[in-house]
């Protein structure tokens, strides 16, 4: 396992990029810890797959270096980097048995057959496919196939990192739960460095210790799931994480008071703002209380989505979403209060810190 250093990496697909917009990846300069579980999260076209391919060696960055444990691997091929990768669509060798699929990467590296046998049997046990070892891999279900592609990576004990490229896309919802928690368990058990690319926030947040949110070729925030949820550093992170996303409401700040169209809210600190710029208040739907106190709202619609309900309301003309539990009451003349610790202030879409 290895620590991965991304040293000022920029990438453009065409030659001689003229402007920043020509870069699929603007500038990435980070260090990822050995044994960490990282998720690259963002909408399609944000550069997450480009970054993954640079790490795996399928793509050479236009600028910058990539290092594994301090060793420059920028110009090494995929094989030489000793990484494993699980793709969106399960890649299995159809004509081989499940056993031979798992043995394939070991035999290719000239490992002695008794060793191969021992490790393959261990892996079959881990991925829960022992009973299938002599079956042709072709006839298996999508989730079993995906476990085989994962197993082919895990069975090698020399891998520096395991990369996942939206591995649960073709898996049915019920199996997603099983596979996801198994992945998480493997990570705890073996301590691999894992990088997981996805557009699905639930997958990213539940899988990773650190989530890397990407937007338009740039990393907008790296943080723990809790940090991303509670303190999104950009309104995009607020919108992209959480379902529904964070409410972003145009506001004015006067000292430690937030002035909205519909009313005022007191802050327990005075945000330090530069003059000019667009000021917005960010508050997640989970942190708005609906009751008989606070600023009046007009409820437009209530969506019952089973375990909770989403109240769509208008706050002085501004549409907001509020999440309430399945048993909660919505009063006839509803008013809302905001949880003070969950208030975030944004100037030109970037979060303004609490520190003076």
């Amino acid at each position: 396992m290895a620590r991965i250093t991304l040293d000022h990496i920029r990438h453009a697909y065409g030659p001689n990029p003229k402007s920043d917009a020509a870069y699929a990846l603007r500038e990435v300069d980070h260090e990822w810890a050995d044994g960490g579980a990282y998720a690259l999260l963002g909408p399609s076209g944000c550069g997450k797959t480009t970054l993954l391919n640079i790490i795996s060696g399928l793509l050479q960055p236009s600028h910058g270096r990539i290092l594994f444990d301090g060793k420059d691997v920028t110009h090494l091929s995929t094989q030489e980097r000793n990484i494993a990768q699980v793709f969106q669509f399960p890649v299995i060798y159809d004509t081989m048995t499940v056993y031979d699929n798992l043995a394939f990467p070991l035999r290719n590296r000239g490992i002695a057959e008794p060793d191969v046998d021992r490790r393959v049997r261990e892996m079959l046990e881990i991925i829960d496919l022992s009973d299938w070892s002599n079956r042709k891999a072709q006839r298996l279900t999508a989730d079993q196939k995906q476990k085989i592609s994962l197993g082919r990576g895990l069975v090698r004990n020399d891998v520096n990192a395991i990369l996942f490229d939206e591995p649960l896309t073709v898996i049915d919802p019920h199996m997603k739960w099983v596979l996801r928690s198994q992945l998480k368990r493997f990570h705890k058990q073996f301590g691999f460095t894992m990088v997981y690319v996805t557009h699905d926030q639930t997958e990213a947040l539940t899988f990773a210790d650190k989530v890397v949110v990407m937007y338009d070729g740039e990393i907008v925030q790296i943080g723990t799931p809790a940090e991303l949820f509670e303190r999104p550093s950009h309104t995009f992170v607020g919108y992209f994480i959480g379902s529904p996303g964070m409410n972003v409401i145009p506001a004015e700040i006067h000292g430690s008071t937030i002035k909205l169209e519909a009313g005022t809210i007191a802050l327990d600190y005075a945000p330090k703002l530069a003059a000019g710029g667009r000021i917005e208040l960010g508050i997640r739907p989970e942190f708005i209380r609906i009751g008989r106190e606070g600023i009046p709202v007009t409820v437009t619609r209530i969506e019952d989505i089973g375990r909770r309900r989403i109240v769509r309301a208008s706050l002085g003309g501004q549409p907001i979403a509020i999440v309430v539990s399945e048993d909660a009451e919505v009063p006839a003349e509803p008013r809302v209060t905001f949880d003070p610790v969950a208030l975030n202030i944004y100037a030109n879409s970037w979060r303004v810190g609490r520190e003076a």
Binding site: W177, G242, E303, G306
Partner: protein
């Protein structure tokens, strides 16, 4: 109204669709919910007239349309893949069904602009589909289905290939669009959360059989049997096999739960009880919560909530608790079960008394 009377489809001596009775009203949104290969697509093909049923008949507005070719029915379909004419502009793509129908130019123009406005495609009318994002391409396909003014619109996992966040937005918009159209909408999905967000009615499918049909939230809250309950649960349901005797549910003599009032009518004997992961908690939220002990396995954190996977007397459970709880594996924890929402199923798998 679309009616299927005893419709069955056999292929090679095996039922792909078991004899099915279903009726969809005009202006209704109907979700077909079930895992891959449960028969959603087969059922839609029978509704559209792409396949002829082996037995039974399909009625549309009281008229028998079994065997009437799909071209002669007023049907529109939207697929998982984004299917548009690549050489035509978005405008021409949307206009194409009306051009085939020989509508006059002013009508076409009016309808195209209306549909484009509804699906927020107005800025892209002059572009070709290949210059659009996946979401815009699928919205174009949807617009084309809408302007066709079909009386039956079939959608086969239309959002499956889109980004998570885009899906979320379209799921919210679609019911509004459907409500304006007055056609019968049938929407196939594998995801319970999608069915809940869309609302309307849901038919759950399992192995070529409709297991239940009714208003979406009703089916979710009061599944008629175990199969339906399992199909319509994401995260998965928790189960426990118990024996009811008098006022308590016993589990292998090890534990017992007080029978909640809504299940008091359940006859004594073996029962399977089921509950959703969010009805387990680390704190007692209501007075009548039952205390249980379980062994933790793995914790997944979404930023605001935690999924804790665990073993309860050898059975796998998942808890969804608000807040961040990263509990070490193999820890014994005390949980509170909100018994107000328990569901009970008999040994035949039928619901005995549904959760309140």
């Amino acid at each position: 109204m679309l009616e299927m009377r005893n419709v069955a489809k056999m292929v090679g001596g095996e039922y792909h669709i078991h004899p099915t009775n279903l009726a969809f009203d005009r202006g209704s949104l109907n979700v077909l919910l079930g895992p891959t290969l449960s028969g959603k697509t087969s059922l839609m093909r029978l509704m559209a007239g792409l396949d002829r049923p082996t037995s039974g008949s399909v009625y549309f507005d009281g008229a028998d349309v079994t065997g009437v070719a799909v071209q002669k029915r007023n049907v529109a379909m939207v697929y998982q893949q984004f299917i548009n004419y690549p050489a035509l502009t978005v405008y021409e793509n949307i206009a194409s069904p009306m051009r085939i129908a020989g509508k006059d130019a002013p009508t076409i123009d009016r309808e195209v602009r209306k549909a484009a406005e509804l699906l927020r495609l107005t800025p892209y009318l002059d572009r070709t589909p290949l210059n659009l994002s996946g979401g815009q391409q699928q919205r174009t396909a949807l617009a084309r289905a809408l302007v066709k003014n079909a009386s039956l619109v079939l959608m086969d996992e239309p959002l499956a290939n889109l980004d998570y966040k885009l899906r979320e937005e379209l799921r919210e918009e679609l019911p509004k669009i459907f409500a304006q159209s007055g056609a019968i909408f049938v929407y196939a999905t594998t995801e319970p959360s999608e069915a809940l967000l869309l609302g309307g009615n849901t038919a759950t499918l399992s192995e070529g059989r409709i297991t239940q049909f009714g208003p979406t939230i009703e089916v979710y809250r009061r599944p008629a049997d175990l199969v339906t309950a399992k199909t319509f649960a994401d995260p998965p349901l928790n189960f426990i096999d118990v024996v009811k005797s008098g006022g308590s549910f016993r589990y292998q003599e090890a534990d017992s739960l007080a029978v909640p009032p809504h299940l008091s009518g359940v006859p004594d004997g073996p029962v399977t009880i089921a509950f959703h992961p969010h009805h387990l908690g680390l704190t007692a939220q209501t007075g009548n919560a039952a205390r249980v002990k379980a062994q933790t396995q793995i914790s997944e954190i979404t930023g605001s909530e935690s999924f804790v996977h665990m073993h309860y007397n050898g059975v796998r459970w998942v808890m969804l608790a608000p807040g961040i709880h990263d509990i070490d594996p193999d820890t014994e924890i005390e949980l509170y079960l909100d018994t107000r929402h328990l569901m009970a199923f008999g040994t035949d798998g039928r619901a005995i008394a549904a959760a309140a």
